[in-house]
């Protein structure tokens, strides 16, 4: 019983982290029509930056925010300086993000060496929270809570603000959005900054649980890929549902069939591809 509960809590935590990672990935995919293969690297680099900010004496949450700002800047620079030059050539853009992911991975290895780094859980959240005679680790609950709050904020932004309406228009039909006077180029930059920042904050928040190590990027990127294929590109609800589905599949798969955890993770994705190629919450292209 407690094992199942523990697994469920871990699944929810991983789902929350995955949402922070894949919300941006999904929006970038929806708007720019490219899978940003540096997204896993954003997550890892964000986590490493968080490590350095903590070493510099910042508190946990300030470090997470600083890392998010740094990642947003880096993401914006990549979009402005590299991807913009290749506008209209999706394949070239994907290849550039692939090349960048190798560079970032190697630079991280150079700066932070190959040893895994663990960030300590912020002191205020080290305890447990008793809910209905069951105790939950406070930090894991906090992650899930923060993910839900950020999801809510993103939804409000997309659904209720002028910027969100412009983004939705861009996702639905970029050329038409341009015709009615929306500067889609600017949206690309904003979404890229937002996505990179969210991945960075996710990296720092995940570090006390996952720790930070070389290869974290290539562990996380396929997960984001699955989430987006499951949920449908450019759909926030899809990313949210997909994240938790993958979180559960990953943890339960690993506990029940440790050797085939990876296969179990990909099976629903394949099923969705065959039955509903646009994803559970995606719209028919």
């Amino acid at each position: 019983m407690t094992l199942w509960l523990l697994l469920a809590i871990n699944s929810i935590t991983l789902g929350g982290l995955l949402f922070l990672l894949s919300a941006g990935f999904s929006l970038i995919f929806g708007l720019m029509r490219i899978p940003n293969l540096t997204h896993g690297s954003f997550f890892m680099l964000g986590a490493y930056l968080g490590v350095s900010f903590l070493d510099a004496g910042l508190g946990f949450w300030t470090a997470a925010l600083a890392s998010a700002v740094a990642m947003a800047t880096i993401g914006g620079l990549i979009e402005r300086l590299l991807l913009r030059r290749l506008q209209g050539n999706a394949l070239a853009q994907v290849l550039v993000t692939l090349g960048l992911s190798f560079m970032i991975a190697d630079i991280c290895l150079m700066i932070w060496t190959g040893d895994p780094v663990q960030i300590v859980t912020p002191p205020a959240l080290r305890g447990v929270v008793p809910i209905a005679s069951v105790v939950f680790p406070a930090y894991r609950l906090a992650i899930a809570l923060i993910a839900v709050v950020i999801a809510g904020m993103l939804w409000l932004m997309l659904d209720r603000t002028r910027l969100g309406a412009m983004i939705r228009a861009g996702v639905d039909d970029a050329p038409m959005a341009r015709v009615v006077g929306i500067r889609v180029g600017w949206l690309f930059s904003i979404i890229f900054c937002l996505g990179a920042g969210l991945a960075g904050i996710g990296g720092v928040m995940g570090a006390p649980i996952l720790s930070v190590y070389p290869g974290l990027d290539s562990d996380m990127l396929p997960l984001a890929l699955i989430v987006v294929i499951l949920g449908g590109t450019g759909s926030l609800v899809g990313a949210f549902v997909g994240s938790f589905v993958v979180g559960f599949l990953y943890n339960f798969g690993q506990a029940l069939f440790p050797e085939l955890a990876y296969v179990i993770l990909f099976l629903p994705m394949l099923a969705v591809l065959v039955i509903r190629p646009q994803g559970l919450f995606g719209r028919q292209a």
Binding site: R33, L86, L98, M103, E259, V263
Partner: protein
């Protein structure tokens, strides 16, 4: 005529390579170039002629290596193991093709990437079968017709023989009506459909061909190292193969071969001076895509011509002014 002569001359040079490369270190590098060139040629069938960029080919490549190594470890003979490995790779290719050919372009790339990652995950995590990160050793190289391939020279010649078979098959494929129709599906899929061609079937068959050649490359990769680890199936391997194809120039036969030579040599040279191969790989990738999307050789020519034109324009301006 000149084309055939060049080809014969190239074969002659390649076949006598062990004679004038005294150091077996260089012979080994030559073998590696041929192996990677086979993988690049395989990927080029899809990325170049079909316009379908796959990021999962390392999965098929490593699948062949693992299947052969596992069946030898299970007591099978080398020939049976090789045949089984190619059959298994073809079976995996069928699954790859059925799932990924539902789409084209970026979605195709994503699905092949995900499928490649599944195979990588199996090699890495299914420890009781694949020995996980430690990989699998092959006790010895096969000895076809009783000829030992343990020496670098003998292995090089055997690899060259396979390579020439692959290149010849590619030549025939490209020149055939099927090759032409594949290019047609790349450039004008709708018109091809309207003309009565079965676009999906053409792509499917091309995928099978590509997977088979990737499997052959994977076999020789295993024989070369007598060892295979999950790294052979990683995204980095797929990306390297793709870099070979696009750096040499897609949709040509000589391009992927030149690209393979370039990347393998660069890898060896770079690793002699710096340990940051991935950084170099990534940087070259970005630079090629940004500045020479058509490939290194045509790209260099274009830049050189542009520079010359600019100089001439400046000279003319100076003359007038």
């Amino acid at each position: 005529m000149t084309r055939r002569l060049t080809f014969a001359l190239a074969v002659l040079v390649l076949a006598t390579l062990p004679l004038w490369l005294a150091n077996s270190y260089y012979v080994n590098i030559a073998s590696q170039i041929l192996i990677w060139a086979m993988l690049a040629l395989a990927l080029n069938v899809l990325a170049g002629y079909a316009g379908l960029v796959s990021l999962g080919h390392a999965g098929l490549f490593g699948m062949a290596s693992y299947a052969a190594a596992l069946s030898v470890a299970g007591g099978a003979g080398q020939l049976t193991a090789a045949a089984f490995a190619l059959a298994a790779t073809l079976a995996a290719t069928v699954v790859f093709a059925l799932l990924s050919l539902r789409s084209t372009g970026i979605s195709f790339l994503m699905i092949t990437l995900a499928l490649g990652q599944i195979l990588w995950g199996i090699a890495y995590r299914w420890i009781s079968l694949t020995n996980g990160d430690n990989g699998i050793n092959l006790p010895s190289r096969p000895a076809p017709f009783g000829i030992s391939l343990e020496s670098p020279q003998a292995f090089y010649l055997a690899t060259l023989a396979a390579f020439l078979v692959v290149v010849t098959a590619m030549e025939i494929f490209v020149a055939s009506p099927f090759g032409a129709s594949l290019c047609g599906t790349r450039d004008q899929p709708r018109r091809m459909t309207a003309l009565g061609y079965h676009v999906w079937l053409i792509r499917f068959l091309a995928f099978l061909f590509s997977g088979l050649v990737a499997g052959i490359a994977g076999l020789f990769f295993l024989y070369y190292d007598k060892f295979v680890s999950p790294h052979a199936l990683s995204l980095a391997t797929s990306a390297e193969a793709l870099l070979m194809v696009i750096s040499g120039g897609t949709g040509t036969l000589i391009g992927p071969i030149a690209g393979a030579a370039l990347v393998v040599v660069m890898k060896y040279v770079a690793s002699a001076y710096i340990e940051r191969w991935n950084l170099v790989l990534g940087a070259i990738f970005v630079a090629i895509v940004l500045f020479m999307p058509e490939g290194l050789v045509p790209g260099m020519l274009r830049l050189w011509r542009a520079a010359r034109r600019a100089r001439r324009a400046r000279a003319a301006a100076a003359h007038l002014g």
